[in-house]
Amino acid sequence: MNVLELKDVTKKYGEFVAVEGVCLEIEEGKILSLLGPSGCGKSTTLRMIAGFTTPNSGTVAIAGENVDHLKPYERNVGLLFQDYALFPHMTVEQNVAYGLRYRGTPKPMIPSRVQQMLSLVRMLGMEARYPSQLSGGQQQRVALARALATDPQIVLLDEPLSALDAKLRLELRIELKEILRSVGATTIVVTHDQEEALSLGDEVVVMHAGKVIQRGSPIEIYKAPADKFVAEFVGRSNWFCATRRGRSSGDLSSYITSNGIEIRTRSAPTDRRGSADLCIRPEHIELMDVTQGVVSDEPDQNLLEGVVVDVAPLGADVHVVVDLPGETRLQVIRKNVGRIPTVVPGQPVRLCFAASDVLVFPT
C-alpha cells in the first residue's frame, strides 16, 4: 500500500509557482530520493507533506487518508531539518524524549525507548550533553534519533548531509541508509547532490522548476535520462549540438556537429532530419594512443581524434581533457586500474565510444 500519496499538488507564492502539479507516491519501507537543484521546490514539497505549508491545489494523503485539514502535530511525520533544529536548552536525552512525551508514549516507557534510539544511532553515553557540546555528525545522529523515536509513518529528511564535510558525509550516508533500512522507515530524502540521491534512494524523483521531470531507479535515471536537464544534472556529460544526416543504416543514425564531426547514434528519434543535443558520458569514452595499430572503423562505434590538453590523476579516476578539431572539448574519465596508457598534455590520441552510449535529445 502507498504510505504517502501526493496528487497534483501545486503551491504558489503570489505569482511565483514553487511547486507545480506534483504527483508522488511511496510504498511502505521504501526510500525515495527527491533530487533537484537549489530552489526547485523540494523543501516546499516536504513542508506540504509535513503540514507546515498548505497547497493551493491538490491533495496529500498519508496511509490512504487525506491529511489536508490536519495540523503538523496531528500527522505522524518525522522530520530531519537541514540545520537539525535540536532544542539548544535540552540535553540529548530530553531532545529524543520530546516527541515521545507528546505522541503519548506512557511515561515509564520513555527512558528505555530513548536508550533504544540512542543505541541505534550509536550515541549511547551522550544523554546528558547539550547540542552545543556535540560535533556536527553527532548532532545529525541525535536529530535522526529524535525523528525516528515516535515511529513516524513517514520520515522526511531535508538535505540531511549537506552541513557536513565531505569525508564525514560519505560515512554518515552509509550509516543513514543502514539505520533507515533497519527500522524499515518509509523515507523521502531531499538532496541537490546526485551522488547522495542515487546512493540513498530505492527510487529517484528528479525535480526541476517546481515540476517532477522523471521518476525511476537510480540506474534508469543515469542510463536513460528523460531530458537534457536530467542528463546534465545527473552524472557528468559531454555535449554536442548536431544535425541529423539523411542517411542511416539499420537502427543507426548519423549526426554532424556544427564543427563537422560525425557522431553515430543508436537511439533514433522519429523526426528524420531534426537537430539534436547529443550527450556522451566521460566514463564511456575509450582513450587510445594514435600509434596503437590501426583500428577498424566499426559502424556502431565512434572514432575521433584529438589532442590531450590536461591530465588530472584523481586517485581512483583519471580525468583527461581532450581537444577535438574545431574547438570542441571533451572530458574523458578512465578508471585508474590495470595497465592504462599514460597520456601527457600535447599528445595526439584516439577516442572511441559506442553509438549506443550516445544519448539523443531532439531540440
Binding site: 509535513a50 503540514g51 507546515f52 495540523k71 503538523p72 502535530y73 505522524n76 511525520v77 518525522g78 522530520l79 531539518f81 537541514q82 540545520d83 533544529a85 535540536l86 532544542f87 539548544p88 536548552h89 520530546y98 516527541g99 512525551r101 507528546y102 505522541r103 503519548g104 529524535r146 525523528a147 515516535t150
Partner: protein, 275 residues
C-alpha cells in the same frame, strides 16, 4: 619605527586616562552622595563632612511623605513590570509571526512612544484622563508607565525571538506538540533572558520616571521621584541623600536577586543578543 611606537604608547596612555576619567565622572556624584548622607551636621554644609552620623537615615525612616512615595513607586514599578512584560512579550510574539509586509509598520507603530518626549506623553495623558475623572490616580500613572515601557519590552522580546530559528518551533510541532506546548517548552525558555532584560528595563524606567508621574500624580498618590522633587522644593536637606542611598541599596539587592535567578551577565549582556 621608533616614532610609531611612541605614538602607540601615547595612545595607550590616553585611552587609559579616558577610561579612568570616565569612571571618576560616573562614580564621583554617587560616592559624594553616599558620604554626604552620613553627614553629622544638621545643615547643608561643605563637602566633606567633618564627622559622620546616621541622623539623615533616621529622618528618612520617619518621613511618612517619602515612605508613601516609595511604597507607591514599588507598587507602580511592579505592576508596570508585570504588565509591560506580559503585553510586550505577547505583542512581540504576534509581530514575529506576521508576514514581512505587516511586520515593519506594526513594529514601528508599537515602538513610536519611544520618540515622544515624556513631557508630551504626560500632558497628552493628562488631557485624555481629564475626560475620565473617575479613573484612580494609580491606574492613570500605570497607564503612563506602560506606555513608555511596553516599547522596550517588545523590542527586547523581538530581539530574543529573532535569535530563535523558526525550525525549532516546527520541529516541536512535527514531534507532536501543539502550538501552545511548543511555545511554552521551546520558544519561551529560549526567549527568557531577553524577556527578563526587558522586565528589568521596565522596572528601572518606572522607578525612575518623573516627567509622566508629575502630570498624573496627586497629593495622595505620588511616586518617590515626585516626592523627592517636592521635598527638594519645600525643605532641601540631606534626607534626600539618605533616600537616594537607600534606593541605591535596594537596587543592588534587586540586582543580586536577579543575578541568582537568571545570571545578570546573561540578562543584560549576551542575553539580549543570544538565546
Amino acid at each position: 619605527m621608533l616614532s610609531k611606537r611612541h605614538t602607540d604608547a601615547g595612545l595607550g596612555v590616553l585611552l587609559k586616562a579616558t577610561i579612568a576619567l570616565t569612571a571618576v565622572f560616573l562614580l564621583l556624584p554617587v560616592v559624594m552622595t553616599v558620604i554626604m548622607s552620613f553627614d553629622s551636621r544638621n545643615y547643608l554644609g561643605q563637602f566633606p563632612p567633618p564627622s559622620l552620623s546616621t541622623q539623615w537615615f533616621t529622618k528618612f525612616a520617619h518621613n511618612g511623605y517619602l515612605w508613601s512615595g516609595l511604597r507607591t513607586s514599588l507598587l507602580l514599578a511592579t505592576a508596570t513590570t508585570v504588565g509591560a512584560t506580559t503585553v510586550g512579550a505577547l505583542a512581540a510574539l504576534a509581530i514575529s509571526r506576521m508576514t514581512a509586509q505587516w511586520r515593519d509598520p506594526v513594529t514601528t507603530a508599537f515602538l513610536s512612544p519611544l520618540v515622544l518626549p515624556g513631557v508630551i506623553i504626560g500632558f497628552a495623558l493628562l488631557m485624555a484622563f481629564s475626560a475620565l475623572s473617575a479613573v484612580p490616580t494609580f491606574l492613570k500613572m500605570l497607564a503612563g508607565h506602560l506606555l513608555i515601557t511596553v516599547p522596550f519590552t517588545i523590542r527586547m522580546t523581538l530581539i530574543g525571538l529573532a535569535g530563535i530559528s523558526a525550525t525549532l518551533g516546527e520541529a516541536a510541532l512535527s514531534l507532536g506538540a501543539n502550538e501552545r506546548q511548543s511555545f511554552f517548552t521551546i520558544i519561551l525558555p529560549l526567549a527568557k533572558n531577553s524577556i527578563a532584560a526587558g522586565a528589568i528595563f521596565a522596572f528601572a524606567f518606572s522607578m525612575d520616571d518623573l516627567t509622566i508621574s508629575l502630570f498624573l500624580s496627586d497629593f495622595n498618590t505620588y511616586p518617590l521621584p515626585v516626592a523627592l522633587v517636592g521635598l527638594m522644593r519645600s525643605n532641601f536637606d540631606l534626607t534626600l541623600a539618605a533616600a537616594a542611598v537607600f534606593l541605591m541599596g535596594l537596587t543592588v539587592i534587586i540586582l543580586i536577586v536577579l543575578d541568582r535567578i537568571f545570571g545578570l551577565e546573561r540578562v543584560i549582556g549576551h542575553g539580549i543578543y543570544k538565546a
